[in-house]
Symmetry: C2
Subunit: 235 residues, 2 copies
């Protein structure tokens, strides 16, 4: 069974949801037959690249919040994160364009290490007060800290075409599904869960999707094919 | 709608099927909303790497065919290919381990150029008498001839881990679907067509799959999520 999780590094509920989903998956009896892939979703693709905005500036622009309101919201998120067993730095979070991070996540997926990259980016954003956005050097540092080869990371970042099509394909698929917020969990393209649910809700979703998982596709035409023993024209 | 096509460069019916499927797709009224991805299937993963076997040696080992029988079979495949509008060299075809070609196809997919790579490999195998298998130099030459950067191609070939996991994931999925021959076409994981069908059969399959294409997955739980306007706790 495949679970696709649309996510953005800018999204605190994605950070929280990842932990809660993983807690549910860990206890799921068919976990070894579940493949998880994280898909790209930019909360705000219009944010210029190359800059870091503090969460204060971001929320005051976007929602007209005061510093006190932003501070209260961060503390609330921090409490929820801590409760789920996650670190959270209630000050110093920044916001920015995440396209390059999504490209790195696709690259890491190719190495079979997408989770490691995502965890490193989440921690750098939510548990570390150092700015994360707007600087390729910082991304290289974060990825290298998670064991990725710094030169290879830089090579991906330096070539804006690498994995760009994959990021856009994920975003197009999200649009087709009508996704307008993340995290968004899709189970075998049949069921969906939106938001950072409690682990029990993820357990229910996993159980329901597992019970209804598709068998092989229905064969509607059979013809000339090649197999291990050669090429056959069926009778 | 997504069409996944499991294929192998060793497979003449895959070469033929690609043309016939594309002919059908070109005339399909929703073609612009169909995404095609080619997936890896090795007809014979046990063939050693680094060697090229002539089709004569291969068929005589595998099926005990005489040169006359192999020649007749190649001529038959050639006639079918020509009829579909494809070039085919009825002599000089070789057979070998295709794992590295599948890795290249995954790399090309990342660049949005998977079809170009596959066409180049098919032509080199079926329309060109020069051996294709067993030599990285030959693969670099073929890919460069299709406009890929020779150094980048060599870098992929030189690192056996690159895209290896992606190739194996495709093969595992094929196994789960019970696929034992290629080409194998899967429409939105719901319908399947096996073999190099006539274009009309592909047209029917496209039409049927389009009519039954899945809408968005069913939302079974809605919760705390972040969207373009910020992070919301739904009421």
């Amino acid at each position: 069974m495949q679970v696709e999780i649309w996510t953005d590094v800018n999204c605190p509920f994605c950070y929280l949801g990842k932990k809660r989903f993983n807690d549910a998956l860990e206890k799921f009896e068919h976990a070894d037959q579940v493949s998880v892939v994280h898909r790209s979703f930019e909360l705000d693709p219009t944010v210029p690249t190359g800059i870091s905005r503090s969460i204060f500036e971001h929320q005051s622009r976007k929602r007209g919040w005061s510093e006190v309101e932003v501070d209260a919201s961060e503390r609330q998120l921090g409490a929820a994160a801590n409760e789920a067993g996650l670190e959270y730095s209630v000050s110093g979070r920044d916001v920015g364009n995440s396209f390059d991070m999504h490209r790195l996540l696709h690259w890491a997926a190719e190495l079979g290490r997408q989770e490691d990259m995502l965890d490193a980016l989440y921690l750098a954003n939510f548990a570390d007060a150092t700015p994360l956005f707007g600087s390729a050097d910082r991304l290289v540092e974060v990825a290298a800290g998670a064991g990725f080869d710094a030169d290879e990371v830089r090579a991906v970042l330096d070539d804006p075409e690498r994995y760009a099509a994959a990021v856009r394909a994920d975003e197009r698929q999200a649009q087709e599904f009508g996704v307008n917020g993340v995290p968004f969990y899709v189970f075998d393209r049949k069921y969906a869960v939106s938001g950072a649910q409690a682990p029990e809700t993820f357990t229910q979703a996993l159980t329901q999707a597992w019970g209804d998982r598709p068998a092989a596709p229905t064969l509607i035409a059979d013809g000339d094919a090649c197999g291990p023993d050669g090429c056959e024209v069926p009778q």
